[in-house]
């Protein structure tokens, strides 16, 4: 549902929209839950020096999320599960808390698949560290070019970088680690996240 259009190294600019959309579609097929059209843009100010990154300002993004919630709430929808694909979008959670105080009877859930406990367990099992633009996001449907065989040493970063600095430091855009993993591992990730989502959709 909530994605971003930003650089992901060798992966699609829409990686952060495609993954939650794939999860949403899979969950919808099993539960008939309605899937809203994807929000193709998120808040990615730190990647603006990479061509193709289209970033919304913090305010614009959270206003957009609010407008979607209010539109559907006004029509009687009461249960919203946000499938977020992009870390910079997390601020919307604060706005959702504000809305929860204003719109009675609403059930809100938020799922950031890459930061889920499920993913953490799988990553530990295979001794793979998840990071931006590395193996964890390299699904078949997010790959657009051939991925390097050799992994990348994560550059040391302290403090908050400007977009120019970030491009200088990260080069190809990946935050480091292996660029790819066995399809079986990614299938396991996908299945685990889907399972999380199906449970959240019960809103209990």
């Amino acid at each position: 549902m909530l994605g971003a259009c930003e650089q992901h190294g060798y992966l699609s600019l829409l990686t952060d929209a495609k993954i939650p959309l794939a999860l949403a579609d899979a969950a919808s097929q099993q539960t008939n839950t309605l899937v809203a059209p994807p929000v193709n843009f998120g808040a990615s100010p730190y990647f603006l020096a990479y061509p193709g990154t289209l970033s919304l300002r913090l305010n614009t993004f959270v206003d957009l999320v609010e407008d979607l919630v209010r539109s559907a709430y006004g029509q009687g929808f009461r249960r919203f599960l946000f499938l977020n694909g992009h870390g910079g979008n997390d601020s919307a959670r604060v706005r959702l808390y504000e809305l929860a105080n204003q719109l009675p009877g609403m059930h809100l859930a938020w799922y950031a698949w890459w930061a889920s406990h499920s993913v953490e367990i799988i990553a530990q099992k295979y001794e793979l560290k998840p990071s931006h633009g590395n193996w964890l996001e390299a699904f078949t449907f997010t790959q657009v070019v051939e991925l390097p065989d050799e992994g990348k040493v994560p550059p040391p970063v302290r403090g908050l970088l400007s977009a120019e600095e970030a491009r200088h430091v990260y080069g190809d855009g990946s935050f480091g680690g292996p660029y790819k993993a066995d399809k079986a591992i990614l299938d396991e990730v996908f299945a685990a996240c889907l399972s999380d989502i199906l449970q959240l959709l019960q809103f209990e």
Copy 2:
């Protein structure tokens, strides 16, 4: 590029995103112009009483457009053609004029296919009046259910209706006229709009 998620009678909720996207893809194939991910939401406050209409506030929508322009401008893009599919989005033009005063060297064009001179001529030729949710938007790729054979008498409307009033007045959501037209006519419409777009893409 700019669409909306709103009721269109018997047509897809994403009609206003799908048509400009189809035009953009066709133009891109001929010219290799980059197509930005679609903005799936527009400003449709008057349709909010129809379930499925997700409307952005005026400010949110124009801020979003501004953010996309500024993101790409910062990366060196200078030519932007906005393919708009929804009348409520027209206000973004004022914001674009404001941006044109701030970002030197930018070339901006805006194309509202349904309001183009080309469409007007075709409509007159076949004596079909274009309107929201009628034949003009009934492309094969926007149809989701069977369309009625009989047209609809346009309800008389004066003044600005609230969403509740609009749903009461418009019923099935179409503004009236025939619900469908020969595929050949819609192909002619599509081709004429595509031709307009290709000309605009020359930015001369």
Copy 3:
């Protein structure tokens, strides 16, 4: 009611405020409808390079319109007819639709005299094309200097111009066509618009 302070070639900077005000006063005399003080400023970013054009940002303008409506609504007013004199102000319609969803029992109407069907018919009758700063706005009460006898060839414009470009392209500020018309024609225009307004004031 809604005007603008912007260049109009050889006409008054307040042309867009004076015409709707004149219409409002005439309508008020016949109906005793209250006329709010004029909003002397509108959204005219494209004319900012012409000295004397004072333009409000899109947001400022629509916020202002909202504030006026809310002020009067809070005092019990329920019927509002907006007489708009300036194309850049049209975005306020979207805000008015938003307000219509929030303030029950309100009747809103909007009249853009220059774009009315009545004006279109008169223009066709006399084979005069209406445009910014040409004969259509050249009432006796908007003229401040002598008008040229010769008309102007409309400069070709495609895309959205910045204020600097607009001044370069439009020169004296008129969009082209004859600078003046017989007083009888303008009287006819005024009478037709007044008639439209009187009908709208019935709010039926």
Copy 4:
């Protein structure tokens, strides 16, 4: 230049716009200074329960002032004298200070005629206390109905009243004191304020 449309007891709703406009016109005749169209609305939330008071939100009003300054600054204007007629508009001063930090070479002055030292002296001389909607604002050009002969005892007010409370407390809208004064005194006030303005227009 900056006024308001709000209740003034027995005086015109546009009292706060008319007085500075009269002063501006008088000053303009002596100095050829350009007078911008009046801002007919100010921030008067406390009078919203009086029909006819049209109040802008604080933000809307200061944004409007900013837009006017930026429009004229962009065209080369550098000296701005704000003739304010309404106490609720004073917040715009803070925004003007912000603008002074952003727009180099600008000279800004602000004149609130009713709070001037000149008015204070005249009021003391005649032992008349200035207040909202009393003699001080009762110029011939702001009177719309006959004024009461008897003055009014100012109601005691502590704290900030809501609009409903304010209407309850103030009744006819005047804050108390005599409703009128000799025309000679008001002429003296006008002349003293005009003299202040002429001095401020030297921007020294």
Copy 5:
């Protein structure tokens, strides 16, 4: 409660927060009124060229005040006394009036100690003129360095200065007059203001 972090000549940067806080604490001890945490920042755009001045934009400051009021109102608080220490914060009064129209049953009072009638009387008694950064604010708890013995001639200022101009004109930051006064006078000031506050806290 409402302060500022801005230059005060030889006094603490937090002078405008410390004084109302001291008054609030003293009043609280006598009445058990709750004292909210101090707002350490205000709107001081004109002092931004003095290092250490941290100024909020007008909008940010009034939004902050609104948020605090709404937070407490939502929990059942109905009486708010704002002890303001900084002139630039006065615009919040307009926002408070707006809130008073929206939140029924609220009692709002505002106290700007330095501009109170009590201070005016004491200042006249001792023939000391109050001004920014002079004796009136030189309490023992706001002094951070030794104060000059000699007073300062107030520089003549007309119009609204930018921050750069203000620093140039005001030099050490004081607006002029004696830098200090007898502790007994300041005690008298403090006691008079405290007495005002205790009376306001009765909300009658």
Copy 6:
């Protein structure tokens, strides 16, 4: 530097301001770094049903952070370390990234002490789980009442709760776990965080 005024179970309402302030003061003593006045309010919409929680809207809070940065940047400051004490404030990081793109040469660092790797290690060493309002925040200077001896079973929470729901679910306000820990452990936490901060202050 950045705190909050919100419920913390048995701890001070200002817990989230006091801890980073204590850390800042300690770091300042060792390095002479300037410490800005604390921001006593943060974004805590989910605790608004607990009396005493004063929460800023997301926008207000991030605007405030922006204003402080811009104020100091304008005076030549280039290195900013934000010591955050409250999870709801994290959104300000996105705004800081936006600012990093606009203000060249700035070095920004952000430290959320409770979420630091140092704290994580200490917590694991003593087998204590950190959570809102439990032992981790129970420093001597944040305690205001006696703490319970028995810990609390963390209530299960899925989804985003409204403030009313949160108060119902969390009762005393703590998220669960032991309410206190040995002073030695908290000293260790403080020392470890201080060490982190001293390293970040080198901005390398």
